[in-house]
Subunit: 242 residues, 2 copies
């Protein structure tokens, strides 16, 4: 055992600790990811998740918020959802040195700040389904983030984190359909959402919105609930793995 009991300061190998962010949003009906292009080896020219070192006086969570702000330009942490995913620590994941990374998943509503707050490599939004191999083990991190978000849509009210402050039920449904990659029945979705107390609440001013064709939809905002009981399960793919 490498005991943490009475360790002296040099009984261990120091590691570099970083955070990596899987920032997801919905744009034009597609799931998109914030990526930066690497300028140097290794993986020069490849896309990578934004991230950076954890500073000596901050936690991984603080580092993640800081990176998110720097990368997207968002300043109000208000509505945003940022959640720790897991930690990746395989010895060979960065060929240069031993780097342990704490990965986070972040969700933004549609028109997020144009990205690039004035930093090194410009961050860009890329379609989730058209992403080549990423640098390092970022493919796996991104896949884990997608799986996690998809799962949390089932039993939490997380979907509203993808929506602007006021949204229609159609937009909310699009979140589910896009993340899960499955069409949902509209009346049933509506019934389910409205039957869950605290999921959404209607904007009182009889407000409505219509960008295109069709009957104008009522506007809703996120309610106070965070959990979903009973859950809103994905269309059963029969023995879906976990």
């Amino acid at each position: 055992m490498t005991s943490p009991e009475g360790y002296d300061k040099y009984a261990f190998e120091p590691f570099a600790v970083t955070v990596d962010l899987a920032v997801l949003t919905l744009r034009a009906g597609t799931l998109q990811v914030l990526l930066v292009e690497r300028g140097q080896e290794p993986y020069a020219g490849r896309w990578a998740l934004p991230g950076g070192f954890v500073l000596p006086d901050e936690s991984a969570e603080e580092a993640a918020w800081r990176e998110l702000a720097e990368e997207t330009g968002v300043t109000d942490a208000s509505g945003l959802h940022l959640e720790q995913l897991r930690t990746y620590s395989e010895p060979g994941r960065d060929p240069r040195m031993r780097v342990v990374t704490v990965a986070f998943a972040a969700l933004l509503p549609d028109p997020p700040v144009p990205h690039g707050g004035g930093d090194a490599a410009q961050a860009q939004w890329l379609r989730f389904d058209a992403i080549g191999p990423l640098a390092f083990d970022h493919d796996r991190i991104l896949a884990d983030a997608h799986e996690r978000v998809g799962a949390k849509l089932e039993y939490t009210c997380l979907a509203t984190a993808f929506c602007p402050p006021e949204f229609t039920l159609g937009e909310l449904q699009q979140v589910y359909e896009t993340v899960w990659g499955t069409p949902l029945d509209r009346p049933n979705f509506r019934r389910k959402v409205l039957a869950t107390p605290g999921f959404v609440e209607q904007v009182p001013g009889a407000a409505r919105l219509t960008g295109g064709r069709g009957k104008p939809a009522a506007l809703y905002r996120a309610g106070g609930a965070t959990a979903l009981h009973p859950p809103l399960l994905r269309p059963t793919t029969e023995g879906r793995p976990r």
Copy 2:
């Protein structure tokens, strides 16, 4: 931004990286946790989760398996469940130095190896509900582990990880009741478990087991399924937080 782009080896602060284990089991109908008593400051005399440094050539997962083996004496990783919980990185969590810990939750079937494989501080099983304040932030880690395990019982077949290779449905139900702290209706539990394909399969040899009174129960072993559809939800505590 603290860019990982072209970092040189000393552009960052090195951290110590450890693993901490929340090892849970069911003994005598109670949830128990494997703890070690600290012999030195800080928190001398307090109980703490077992753990240790991640070695230079291993991942956090490998370190966790190694520690688990050292602490409990288990050698066959076969049926065991070990799962990464999350990473705790608050700057002040260890007063001596900057330590980032990757926490794991482990589940063992009832009579786990007597603990103490021949190591420093003897590890001991303590009742989950009779645990005073632990060292460091281990109270929080343990609470997170408990919450995670409770949640995963709902939508995975994880419960069998607490059971020996062959078990009765009554024992399986005890797992749920003990972890959740709620009594369940026996016929309904039975119906639900048996209706889920791949959750359990009956041991063919008409085997039976009876330690005490009552009608002997049929024996089952874990099936191949890992997910539970639809889930087996906890008795609704109305707006249970997440």
